[in-house]
Amino acid sequence: MNVATPSVEVTGDDGSVRLAGEWTLAGLQGRLPSLRQRLTRASAGARTWDLSGVQRLDTLGASVLWRTWGERLPETLIADEALRGMFAAVSVLGPRPPAAPDRASIPGRIAGLGRRGLGALSQMLGVVGVLGQAALDLVHLARRPQDAPLRELSANLYKTGVSALPITALVGFLIGIVLSYLSALQLKNFGADVFIIDILGIGITRELGPVLVAVLVAGRSGSAMTAQLGVMRVTEEIDALATMGVPAGLRLVLPKVLALLITMPLLVAWTSSAAIAGGMVAAAFQLDMSFGFFLDTLPRVVPLANAWIGLAKGLAFGMTIALVACHFGLNVKPNTESLSENTTRSVVSAITLVILVDAVFAIATRNMGMPG
């Protein structure tokens, strides 16, 4: 594209200024600072501005000239109707407001810190709110069982449970191998080979299995739940459901919470079994321990209470993840930035809360399920 160069020329000694060329975005590219300087210099004593040589003028050219003239037309302006129309369009530009002072002050920062704390508190309350609503919905279902969202529940069972089986088994098995291998190296030094079964049995069923599954499910299903609810908020689908008389809590939140309550304990049992199998394989290689011996000893050294504790943790973690995911999903603001932010926060908060709940479990069950 050939563009006529914009130019500024002071003619005669009466200080009239002649402009020519293309005063457009394309014409001004790369020339704006130098032209601005020339304009400012020329405008010092100029009364007459001759724009008859200007071929094209767009909003950029017009607003640059308008600013040079101090937000008004010059006394004498030689320009045709089209150019004057352009200046009429930029005449909305008033004097520039003074730059606002920015940078947070120290009290401002302290206030910001407080606001964040309050924000975290209100998020916690929000999660409790989702729990309360789910409980109310359950009561409603007890009275009107025909409203039960069975299709949604079964879809969620499949998505959070069945389709998670391969990945949880794989991760569990590999962690079992690693744990068993590293422990065996140490135990061999002390000749305490048989204790590998105690370590794996108690460690995995009671602690590692549930936490591992919780992390996987929070990343897999929790994020998916938040994103789904969030997109439904962005596209106003939740509003559309509400106008059809379909309550979002009953149809969207409750099936997710129930599904995780059912699948999480099962996934914990499944993953813990895979991890113990992995540990057993590694023990066979490392310590020459036969499968038969391993399986015989396991129930004798690991009290059954540990399995129950593991399953109970599965229940608690599942509920935590689902409630957090739904809370953040329902609180997405209708824009993409908020969607991505809430999905991240959902996963991070879910995992953090799971660890907290795990600590509570550790204290509450400290007298249960220990051998001897």
Partner: protein, 255 residues
Amino acid sequence: MKPVIEVSGLVTRFGRQTIHAGLDLAVLAGEVVALVGGSGSGKTTLLRQIVGLLRPASGEVKVLGQPVLSGDPLADRALRRRFGVLFQQGALFSALNVFENIAFPLRELRWLDRDTVRDLVMVKLAMVELEAQHAWLMPAELSGGMVKRVALARALALEPELLLLDEPTAGLDPDRSAAFVELIRRLRQQLGLTVVLVTHDLDTLAALATRVAVLGERRILAYGTLEHVMAQDHPFIRGFFALDRMERALARARS
């Protein structure tokens, strides 16, 4: 005059469904071409082909003398900066407020300073009759008509030579539609703009269009001045421009 848009032998397919079968269209510089056709006839799809969002199954699309999909990223980008697009649903960036939406293409140029960008955005807002305080609203807080106008302001941000508008006046009240018509007229006069617009609004069409293209049966059924198109004997054309309705619109446009 050289054509600004040249579409030749365009074929568009989605799976087994054919939307355009050998469609030809040429738009000359300075024209305002109105694209009309039934719902689902492929008007939006044709615009998407013209701006290079879709790749034709066969045929060629040239804009401003260059193929839209040249394969050279730099050339493609330079070409895209020379036209402005208004999407049917607005397609505003939901995470940015109105001001930032309009400023975005300007900042992408990387050579305009902050104050200049601010001035340009404010002028564009005034052009589409939005007030300065609307600049700080988020897209989700706008009415449907306001979304259209912000999207138009954004399409105008880079002072395009070619403007492609998908139903620009749908959702605007009659006053605003008239103001829109006035705005496009003025821009055309000042900047020599070429415009292709999809519209169902007979008033806008009668007031603005230098030529009308009727899309149907997977091709252009008729293309010419409004009088020429109205004289065609085709069931869709007769239905669309139900003559009495059209005469009223023409009378309004002339008054």
